[in-house]
């Protein structure tokens, strides 16, 4: 596979991850599975961002000492070769957001399980009126 094909299939994978996540949130009965769905959607978005940063044939956006000493002051060559680094930084942020949401959701799940002794949505949200 060449670079752009990798990119294409990566996007398709991301879309599938998101769709599976949406499916899990809507149709699964188990709370844990719903939470996994939320996390899958977040991962899908992360994959979209990572793939946007991907550059076919590019290098890691860390300048080496050699490249630095070659062109002090002007880093045209490095910038031409390096992958797009902004999406990677955004992904780091989103990973932490996902981890935080996951922690709180799991905590609430423990509490709900202690109260209802069940993880089924039907059981827990039974009295809820629409």
């Amino acid at each position: 596979m060449n670079g752009s094909e990798v990119q294409f299939w990566s996007f398709v994978t991301a879309a599938l991850l998101m769709i599976i996540g949406i499916y899990a949130i809507i149709f699964m009965d188990n709370i844990i599975k719903k939470i996994i769905g939320v996390m899958l959607i977040g991962d899908g978005v992360n994959l979209v961002l990572i793939t946007e940063g991907f550059k076919p044939g590019g290098i890691v956006p860390i300048i080496s000492e050699k490249l630095y000493n070659q062109s002090p002051g002007i880093f045209q060559e490095f910038a031409d070769q390096a992958s797009y680094s902004l999406p990677f930084a955004l992904v780091l942020t989103n990973i932490v957001i996902g981890a935080s949401t996951l922690a709180v959701l799991l905590g609430i799940t423990i509490k709900l399980y202690q109260h209802y002794n069940s993880l089924s949505v039907h059981e827990i949200f039974k009295e809820e009126k629409i």
Binding site: Q7, F8, F11, V12, A14, A15, M18, I19, I22, Y23, I26, F27, V48, E52, G53, K55, V60, P61, I62, I63, S64, E65, Y68, N69, F75, Q76, F78, A79, A82, Y84, S85, L86, P87, F88, A89, L90, L92, T93, V96, I97, A99, S100, T101, A103, V104, L106, G107, I108, I110, K111, Q114, N117, H122, F125, K126, E127, E128, K129, I130
Partner: protein, 255 residues
């Protein structure tokens, strides 16, 4: 409408929604023409600040986003604390830790304690090398938190290798976040811009001689400014945040 009925109707609507959503997502993502955009400028100017572009974006160009990110973690940690009784309205409720100590195999017991040492040291390396190599505060902090998880899993919470109480973890987290906030305030005070990268090359202004300059010579000849210190603050915060979350969730009473 009762729950059961509404579920059926909801499922129908939801199926249609999922279909439409899938169509649009796949359609949008499969014909996507990517523009480098500002990333290119970041790559072009970034090497003047520090060699690792991602760290430069995280802590310099968009350092304020990272501040927000750190605070999401703090919010989540506090929220987990609230869930298990710390700071609820009407006084704290403390749940007793009733988790049994799990029996571990001899291999786990012999190797866990040495591994904890090595993982912590490795986490420190990743944190401090964050602006030159892949790594940084988040990664280093998570690695150190892994050591904590490992010792909790092997030795149980009460007798784990680290003797970190909930309060000391909270303090560590507060210190980490305050380092970040106050370094930002330094920039605000000196230049008028919050999170201004203050650490310009200080050594020429110190008036030290030639020997001293060689003694302090910096291998990559750029100056990362406050970025390493921000990394340290973030590392402290992330590691204590994750440790607090695992502490709280581990202590949840089983019924």
């Amino acid at each position: 409408m009762k729950f059961q009925q509404s579920q059926e109707m909801r499922n129908l609507i939801a199926a249609i929604f999922v279909g439409i959503f899938s169509y649009f997502i796949i359609k949008a993502l499969t014909d996507f023409d990517i523009v480098p955009g500002v990333s290119y400028i970041y790559n072009l100017r970034g090497p003047l600040i520090a060699p690792n572009m991602i760290t430069v974006i995280l802590f310099d160009w968009r350092g304020y986003d990272t501040l927000g990110e750190a605070f999401i973690l703090i919010t989540a940690v506090l929220t987990t604390g609230i869930l298990f009784g710390r700071g609820v309205l009407g006084g704290d409720v403390s749940e007793k830790d009733s988790t049994p100590i799990r029996p571990s195999t001899i291999v786990q017991k012999v190797f866990a304690a040495p591994l904890v040492f090595i993982i912590v040291a490795f986490g420190v390396v990743i944190t401090l090398g964050g602006h030159i190599t892949p790594g940084g505060g988040f990664q280093g902090g998570s690695v150190i938190a892994t050591a904590f998880f490992l010792s909790v899993v092997v030795y149980g919470f009460k007798k784990n290798v680290f003797n970190l109480s909930h309060n000391s973890l909270e303090t560590l987290e507060g210190v980490g976040a305050l380092i970040y906030l106050c370094l930002g305030l330094v920039g605000l005070g000196l230049s008028g811009y919050y999170l201004y990268n203050v650490g310009a090359d200080l050594y020429p202004y110190l008036g030290v001689g030639d020997t001293a300059t060689r003694l302090f010579s910096y291998p990559d000849s750029t100056n990362a400014g406050i970025i390493p210190y921000l990394n340290i603050g973030i590392a402290l915060k992330v590691l204590s945040g994750f440790c607090t979350i695992i502490t709280v969730l581990w202590g949840a009473e089983k019924k």
